[in-house]
Symmetry: C2
Subunit: 257 residues, 2 copies
């Protein structure tokens, strides 16, 4: 078997997440359709993350084992897949990896970003690509950045986990966390060894409360320590959430602060 690591980028606005679902178009489905067009066979794929409906990816990795008889070169596969994928999904790269490599199990960390559009008037061209707060309040990105730094390190993030998850151990390590403004866009960037269900969207909702001065950044350590979901902020919509990078080698990870 040849094992391929394929890197892609997609706008999730029109998709019901990554994994195959009945009666809903997913990234897996359009990707497998394209593979079938190019290689003549529907192959099983392993995605690095189970992204929810509407969530985007600047960099998403999948691994796919193909028959040895399939000798198409990696760059030929990139071109072929891009010719058959819809305009909101693009393959960036493809390379051969060890046979036991698995895009999800071998993942050592991920970076997510959450984008707030902070302007008096919404931007119609960014619909479903950013979170637009209707309130018209100028977000205090500096206070949000101070708050975000309290996420750093290893903590039980039960307060930032949606109900319904099956994971027992809710301790995760955050290697980097910051908030910065570029024009009308305020970005929350967070890198960790793993994330609980809806964790980044709840972190973003909590930072939104800080940015709107409804919550003090000093409260974040108490919210983490309380392990009570009701004390953290709202779960923000998927519109602003991007899987930004995926790390497979320890030296790619930010040094822990």
């Amino acid at each position: 078997m040849r094992n391929l690591l394929i890197t892609m980028r997609f706008c999730g606005a029109s998709y019901h997440g990554f994994q195959v679902q009945k009666n809903a178009t997913t990234i897996t489905q359009v990707f497998q359709d394209a593979v079938e067009e190019v290689l003549g066979k529907r192959y099983d794929i392993k995605g690095c993350s189970r992204t929810d409906a509407g969530v985007h990816a600047n960099r998403y990795c999948i691994s796919m084992k193909v028959d040895d008889a399939c000798t198409v070169p990696c760059q030929g596969l990139v071109r072929g897949l891009n010719a058959h994928l819809p305009g909101d999904v693009v393959v960036l790269d493809c390379c051969e990896v060890e046979e036991d490599f698995h895009a999800r199990y071998n993942c050592l960390g991920k970076r997510y970003v959450y984008k707030f559009h902070n302007a008096a008037v919404r931007d119609p061209f960014l619909k479903a690509r950013v979170y637009h707060s209707q309130s018209g309040i100028i977000l205090d990105a500096e206070a949000m950045n101070t708050a975000a730094r309290h996420f750093l390190g290893s903590h039980d993030f039960s307060a930032f986990c949606a109900a319904g998850g099956s994971v027992e151990d809710k301790v995760r390590t955050i290697y980097a966390a910051q908030v910065y403004r570029e024009g009308d866009i305020v970005t929350f960037s967070v890198t960790g060894n793993g994330f609980l269900y809806n964790m980044v969207r709840i972190m973003a909702g909590t930072l939104l409360a800080v940015g709107q001065h409804r919550l003090s950044s000093d409260e974040i350590p108490n919210i983490i320590a309380g392990m009570d979901r009701s004390r953290a902020g709202l779960t923000l919509p998927p519109d602003g959430l991007y899987l930004d990078d995926v790390f497979y080698s320890p030296d790619q990870l930010p040094r822990q602060l």
Copy 2:
């Protein structure tokens, strides 16, 4: 009657143009729906232009006559409409105008832009918002700019008019035309007193041929003079086309070169 001039911006990707159509969602329909929610009545509206399916607007003007009994202040109407419009349509402004003002008949000129995305890899977040040329050729924006300057002045633009238009007089005056690059985006900007059916999209297709060195910029005057549609370039898709501005006063127009 109060006559209102309302300025809006929209992403046309999900719409079948501006004018009402059966079995297809148009900007007029969602706008009238929002008006009905806010004012309790479905009013007739006059748009400045009949934009095609998929065409965008950075600035689009409509006029709407409402009953004198409707005393809602202009800024209140802006807020109300924005609360009821979908995320890809936004009202920027509203003001009172003379009773005989008509958004289309009073229009003295318009500026359109056509955006080419010129990168080896398409951007999934710009799907239906730019024209992405799959060829991977680096567009010669300087040659395109030289070609665009040949459009300046008053000409019979029959060579740049799609079949099926009912307009007799095909002379139009172009006040400004240029092509410039900003990173991966090459923009064609053109201001005129009016535009024939598909005129900007055919101009853009002709400039694309120049940018790819399939056509010399020196040929543009001959193509205009020939008045033969088959000698101009392809009609490019609506994805890259934006109505950029609408002019109602002579001093807003660029001085003719």
